[in-house]
Amino acid sequence: MSITSDVIRGHTETIILARLIEKDSYGYQINKDIMEKTDNMYELKEATLYSAFRRLEQSQLIATYWGNEEVGARRRYYAITDRGREAYKEYKHDWENAKAIIDKLLK
């Protein structure tokens, strides 16, 4: 699983953007969605998730706000920005290019 996790980890930001395009979310929810979608084959460490959040925030691709929870501790929500949507399209495109090239080379 070593190359796989490295490759996937390199795309952490794109993966997060993909989740946020669907709806605003928070750390654990995003991780849960990822586990569900990959049938528990993949999950992110919280530390990885958070450093990705910081980078995305710094590049202004996501915005963050605190939620008003009736029950439990307050959660930090993230939302995608317009710049984020643009970036996501680009990253997805890059990935599809890379995928196509590698597939060709590994035939």
Partner: protein, 225 residues
């Protein structure tokens, strides 16, 4: 197991900088870890295993501490060096202004002879010398170092804002001092040239108007930002 998780996070964040950002990150981590723990319990995992799972899923947070800003609340040495240098340049500039003014006075003391109009020559030399300190002051006000945040706290926010206004103040002061030096010089130049001292003092009134205008321009700039 809230307490156990909370304690674990407190331990993890022991070496983190004591800033608002750090506190908020800890809060976020706690909320997420808590929910994960509860989900695991609900799915039938034992408390012990659930706790281990959650701790493992957090991973290594020390990487994140860098982004939470530096700790030392001292001044940045490099910035201080630069500020000292700038102060030196400013003093030198003022010295040059005074020097040029003295030159003007000296030349004016010489009676204008038919092959050399000394006062005017003195005036011209003074203006030429003044180019140097004026350039120095403009350079200084543009190079003024931006205050580097030591930590992301409310205090630092304020310090950064203050340095911004300090910069525009420095610029405004530079312009004001240039204005008044030029005014005094012009006053003497015109007075010696035309010998109408009874009128030439009006230039000071003009200078006062100019200074008010400059003040307004800077206020406008501040409002725009």
């Amino acid at each position: 197991m809230n307490e156990k998780l909370r304690n674990h996070l407190d331990l993890l964040f022991e070496n983190a900088p004591k800033t608002r950002k750090a506190f908020e990150l800890k809060e976020e981590l706690l909320a997420n870890s808590d929910e994960r723990y509860n989900d695991l319990i609900r799915s039938g995992i034992t408390p012990e295993d659930a706790y281990k799972n959650v701790v493992n899923s957090i991973g290594d947070v020390s990487e994140l501490f860098k982004g939470l800003a530096e700790v030392e609340v001292g001044e940045d040495k490099e910035t201080n060096e630069i500020i000292k240098k700038l102060a030196l340049i400013k003093s030198a500039a003022v010295g040059l202004y005074i020097f040029s003014f003295v030159i003007l006075i000296l030349f004016s003391l010489l009676r204008p002879s038919y092959h050399a109009n000394f006062p005017v020559i003195g005036f011209m030399i003074m203006i030429l010398i003044d180019i140097i300190p004026t350039c120095m002051l403009v350079y200084v006000s543009n190079v003024y170092p931006k205050y580097n945040r030591q930590a992301d706290t409310v205090v630092e926010d304020f310090k950064e804002w203050k340095s911004e206004t300090k910069k525009s103040k420095a610029l405004k002061n530079s312009i004001t001092s240039v204005l008044w030096t030029l005014t005094v010089l012009l006053y003497f130049a015109i007075s010696f040239a035309t010998w109408s001292w009874q009128v030439s003092w009006i230039i000071f009134l003009v200078a006062i108007c100019a200074q008010t205008v400059i003040g307004l321009v800077f206020r406008l700039k501040e409002i725009k930002e």
